[in-house]
């Protein structure tokens, strides 16, 4: 995430084109990690690029363009989750998902579904604050430092949450899905 692109002289229009070519798929996957619904994730991704266009005039160049785009995507997804939960769910998200993790139904489903899907669903069932860390650390392979910067978190908070996320998954799977990997 080191590259810094100068936007002077480049049209905002053209830049959005390039961002969509380079990162469209990745942004969509990132949003899908937050919002486990294909159609919704697609809508939000489109909104994110339009938002970027709007925000480009105020882009300061103090973060790399990719980091900047990722922050917009993360914030937009979380804003959506917040308004959605406010509207539709009475209990806090953590409680709902903690219950989901404990339900034996899910475990039965794990056996039924293909292994890939099951693992993915398990990650999806984690509370957002753990899920995003699993995504960035194990899938995107960002460093703890990079994640801390991206999510505006303390490095130790990132480590603690990663640890908690792994033990949550471990508990459900009855084994560590990330054998031998430490940070």
């Amino acid at each position: 995430m080191e590259e810094v692109i100068s936007i002077s002289g480049l049209s905002r229009n053209q830049l959005i084109e390039e961002l969509m070519t380079d990162y469209g798929q990745e942004v969509l996957q990132l949003v899908y990690t937050y919002i486990h619904d294909v159609a919704l994730a697609e809508d939000l991704t489109q909104e994110i690029f339009i938002k970027c266009y709007k925000a480009l005039s105020t882009y300061q160049g103090n973060a790399s363009l990719k980091t900047w785009l990722w922050r917009i995507a993360i914030n937009h997804s979380k804003d959506y989750l917040k308004s959605w939960y406010k509207k539709n769910v009475d209990v806090t998200e953590t409680n709902v998902l903690a219950q989901t993790l404990e339900t034996s139904d899910l475990l039965e489903q794990v056996v039924k579904n293909s292994e890939d899907e099951a693992l993915f669903d398990l990650v999806m069932a984690l509370p957002v604050k753990y899920r995003e860390l699993i995504y960035f650390y194990y899938f995107e392979e960002y460093s703890v430092q990079e994640i801390a910067c991206l999510l505006s978190l303390n490095k130790n908070t990132v480590k603690t949450r990663l640890h908690k996320a792994r033990s949550l998954l471990q508990k459900t799977l009855g084994g560590n899905p990330f054998d031998g990997i430490t940070f």
């Binding site: 969509m20 469209g24 798929q25 266009y53 990650v123 899938f139 990330f178």
Partner: protein, 132 residues
């Protein structure tokens, strides 16, 4: 299970989502609307023709704006349909200017952009999420 096994599983599931041309099209449309609100509306505080607008955009913002004349006319058409601008004919040339509704919208948009500098807004947002 190893890490690569995990990545593989994630990758196979991410195939359920694909960023396609269809999505790009929606973004293009959204961008055009943003552009006409952000750039065209302020320029139409003075009565201008489509040709004049295109020329102004080209000379003033060379390299910053890359919309062709056809797109400008499409945007003007949309703004007119929304009744944000009105038009009249002057010597075989259609000229456009903000309507009352357009002036209201422009005032509203200006207010929004000047309410909070984006950097502070961003900081507040990040602070909010840091506490999650």
């Amino acid at each position: 299970m190893t890490e690569s096994r995990f990545k593989q599983a994630m990758k196979s599931q991410f195939q359920k989502v694909q960023f396609t041309e269809k999505h790009r099209e929606v973004v293009h449309k959204g961008i055009q609307e943003e552009f006409s609100d952000q750039v065209l509306l302020p320029m139409l505080q003075t009565m201008r023709s489509g040709y004049e607008l295109t020329q102004l955009l080209y000379t003033k913002n060379k390299g910053v704006v890359h919309f062709n004349e056809g797109m400008i006319y499409a945007m003007l058409h949309r703004l007119e349909q929304q009744q944000h601008i009105v038009s009249e004919w002057h010597e075989n040339e259609k000229r456009y200017v903000l309507s009352r509704k357009g002036i209201k919208l422009l005032t509203k948009l200006n207010k929004e952009t000047h309410e909070l500098p984006p950097s502070i807004e961003q900081l507040l947002k990040e602070a909010r999420y840091a506490n999650d």
